[in-house]
Symmetry: C2
Subunit: 188 residues, 2 copies
Amino acid sequence: MGRWEPNAGGRLAKAALELYSERGFEQTTVAEIAKRAGLTERTFFRHYADKREVLFAGSRELQELFAQAVADAPESAPPIDALAVGLDAVSGFFADRREYARKRQDVIMANAELQERELIKLASMSAALADTLRQRGVAEPAASLTAEAGLAVFKVGFERWIMAAEKREMSQLMRESLDELKAVTAGG
Amino acid sequence: MGRWEPNAGGRLAKAALELYSERGFEQTTVAEIAKRAGLTERTFFRHYADKREVLFAGSRELQELFAQAVADAPESAPPIDALAVGLDAVSGFFADRREYARKRQDVIMANAELQERELIKLASMSAALADTLRQRGVAEPAASLTAEAGLAVFKVGFERWIMAAEKREMSQLMRESLDELKAVTAGG
């Protein structure tokens, strides 16, 4: 094992995203990422399976945090309110990461394989939320529909949050998106 | 060009799905599909780019039909009602295809690459619906949220429709899913 490097994972992720933005994802090698971060390839592979995983390392953490917040919502909360608690927790997760999220989104939208990977992660998040809701005693199809609705709100709120001119906090945009979903489904 | 074969595309699709079900998607070759259908490989490639496309040939048609039905809904219909019109049209599209849909789903769920492809197609459908709703004068984020909600209802309704014991029509299951989504977003 090499010597311990403080926050090597974070430095590698930052370097990788810079390079993907500058040169494109396909054109960037692990060697270049390690060099930019001032670390070795060996250190890279201690943190990430491959250069794609750098972009998705946070997805599992996000999913667990989202599902856990829904699980921990007050027992009396209807599913949609439990979901709102989850969206608030997600907003906390992203709070300091707006610039990173913007750059990451640009990289992902430029590459079909990365887009597919992102969709798989979102589908996995929806499945995890549905599972959590069933554990809260929500029946099907309400559990799956609430989970899918939650992903819809998350996706739309997230897309607004990373827009160039957008200054509002993610938590506010998530609440607005959820309110808008309630309005459209109510026929408004 | 070879001689004209009546419904060659349909025969190839049927043969392909049989073979994918029996042997698995990876283990099936285009030569085997053509042979099972009593046609040539050349005829196969006049209809489908590759063996994966056999499974997704209907996706574009479905998307256009869904979006067109939403576009053609009464001008006065709120977005969620226009969406309901689209879901009815989709149900008509699938009416005689339940067994095919069940087998296709089993094949897709057994293969990660096919699952990714399916998610891409669904994302494309959501984007097309949002576009159609904007053309109907629906503002953002309502258009995107209604489209995502529509996909949520479609996915959940579809999954119920293909369940082994399920006998009800897709149109009924879609309406029930939409009603359930309305109930959960209303906090019920």
